[in-house]
Amino acid sequence: MRVHPFGRILAAIVTLALAACSAKDERKTIVVAAFPDLDRAVKAALPAWKRAHPDIDVKVVSREYGDHHTAMTTALATGSGLPDVMAIDRDYIGKFAASGGFENLAGAPYDAAAHKGKFVSFAIAQASGPSGNLVAIPTDIGPGTLLYRKDIVEQAGLTEADLTKSWESYIASGKRIKEKTGAYLLAHAADIRDIYLRSGLSDGEGMYFRGDGTILVESQRFVRAFELGLAARRAGIDAKTPHWTNEWSEGLKRGRIATQMMGAWLVGHLKNGLAPQTSGMWRSANLPSGTYGSYGGSFYAIPAKAGNKAAAWEFVKLMTMEREIQLGSMRAVDAFPALREAQNDPYFEQPIEFLGGQVARVLWREIAEKIPAVPVNRNDTLAAAIVNAEFDKVLNENKGIGAALADAKQLIEQRIRR
């Protein structure tokens, strides 16, 4: 048979390509998509992964926080470009959980339901879908805490108890701090609103929606949260600075903001970038008025259309259920472990230099156990944006709280009909 030279070249290329593919098959690679600083926690765990699975490589794809979640939404939409393991932030877990695009880790072959007790309960509630399925495993959590500048508070002649006794005493302390030191109590009046909205919730009651989908924004909890925020604004004790802006980080750096209510992970951010020169001046306390709430947190999920689910599950287990790995993440990026077992390490008893030697991790561990298990709803971010916009009107345009909340409810209804 006479073969055209072109045909021979083609045959050679095909053979080579096939050989390359089969060679590739021997070495498996799983793709883990994450965002900063979680990507650093993943990279810190890679040596341990290599020891356990020398034949499986891990490729970490890291994007900025917003870009990561947009890219993941697009990947879920089209079913292409999906990683084997997907990191998801708390703000997106509700929406993603409802999508049905993930493996139910509570069922076979994962049977993660048996491991639920290993984690703090509120994080498991956040990762649970509407039908009781488990779409992700929590890796780190953000126990809500009140960080305050000890030097400023003392200069105003106040104590920690003045800040935390009640919301009224917190605001009164703010007035005194402003008067004596010129510093603002809060970065933004929305800080109070946000934390109050998380308080007084019973297990199973959502932040914006009840389990049956009822919109809760006209409830007394929202009215009171708005009232407290407005009271702080009227008292002139908030710096009117949203988080993560230049103004905010400068305010923290220069001691213009005396307290900040946020997840305990903020200490890591303050130490590593926001305000390293304020080391030793901060202290961590319970949130005012005996409130317990969570801020942020990260999860790992396996997309239903992932290519290497078995290896992906091994990886998720390593990141979330291995005590040493969880502690490694904590040392690497100050990620507070969601795994209870990791919270008993002697590391927790160590004083934190940035907090002036305070043994704060023990406090955060106690807080984490008391946080109510608030379920998330796929429309939480939508509702949060609308409530925030109406709160702005209350603060800046003298809109009545009742009218603002009624409008918020109406707009949420209109949007979620879509």
Binding site: G66, T70, T73, N246, E247, L382, D392, L411
Partner: protein, 302 residues
């Protein structure tokens, strides 16, 4: 096998058509299709559900849409009109007064246009910082440019004006350079003053370019996104990100569209909104062509 040369031309022009189909025609058609569907993107393509014109009605009745449209038009006018009022005399000045330094000057004015809008917005957000910004330090003020509803829109308008004024000046300069010098000579012999030459020769002869430049500004400004998006804190908490700052005072329609799609996951209504925006831009361009475009093909001053 012999290669049939008849197909060669098609093969050579194929890359354009393939790219055009994949990156232009398909997304366009898909967004039209999407605008009639309800779709939670995270659920995959299977989750699309036909809802007719519901998305359009929903977008049009959304109070945030009205707010965003007002902001967009406000910014388009406040940033757009001064661009031309400054660029036109500037181009005339460069054309008539500068000789050697002309290229340098026009280059300096053009630089902001080719700089990344993201970089510009980030630098301006630092410059306009309330307590630590250079602008307030220079003016001796304490204005919260990007954190107060009264100042956010003007601040964004200033940045947009600064960015595009050089581009428009370049357009006008190009047109001025195309005008025959003999016309000016004849006018000078007839005793026309500088101002008369500008008013009676340059301005009418620039009319086609004014029409083009205004049309482009209209299209750019009504699609305004990057500058207000980043200036008002795109990296903030999810509930505030990309919503135009306090009181959504600089939330443009394009930003609202982005929020609907990527924050709310409501791609159907976002697509409908993009077609509504397209209709608005198309009709305003049409109005502009009716008002100013007439006779623009005629280069004569009569």
């Amino acid at each position: 096998m012999r290669w049939n040369r008849r197909y060669a031309p098609y093969l050579f022009i194929a890359p354009f058509f393939v790219l055009f189909f994949v990156f232009s025609l398909f997304p366009l058609a898909f967004s039209m299709y999407l605008s009639f569907h309800q779709w939670d993107a995270a659920r995959g393509l299977e989750a699309m559900r036909w809802v007719g014109v519901d998305n359009y009605l929903s977008a049009l009745t959304d109070p945030w849409f009205r707010k965003s449209l007002y902001n967009t038009v406000w910014l388009a006018l406040a940033a757009g009109i001064p661009q031309h009022l400054v660029a036109l005399p500037l181009a005339y000045l460069i054309h008539t007064q500068l000789r050697k330094s002309r290229n340098f000057v026009i280059g300096a004015y053009f630089l902001p246009y080719i700089t990344s809008s993201v970089a510009i917005a980030l630098i301006f957000s630092t410059l306009l910082s309330k307590d630590f910004g250079v602008v307030n330090a220079a003016l001796g003020t304490n204005i919260d440019w990007l954190g107060s509803a009264d100042y956010t829109k003007p601040a964004v308008a200033i940045v947009v004006f600064w960015r595009y004024v050089g581009w428009n000046a370049l357009l006008y300069l190009t047109a001025l350079q195309g005008i025959d010098k003999e016309i000016y000579e004849a006018a000078r012999i007839d005793g026309a003053s500088s101002w008369q030459q500008f008013r009676d020769i340059s301005l009418p002869m620039l009319r086609p370019m004014i029409y083009l430049a205004v049309t482009l500004t209209l299209i750019f400004n009504l699609q305004l996104f990057e500058e207000p998006f980043i200036l008002t804190g795109a990296s903030g908490a999810a509930r505030e990100a990309g919503l135009g700052g306090v009181g959504q005072s600089a939330m443009t329609t394009a930003m609202f569209m982005y929020h609907l799609a990527f924050s709310d996951g409501n791609f159907g209504t976002a697509s409908a909104l993009s077609w509504i925006l397209f209709a608005i831009i198309a009709s305003l361009t049409w109005v502009n062509s009716k008002l100013f475009g007439r006779g623009s093909g005629n280069l004569g001053p009569h």
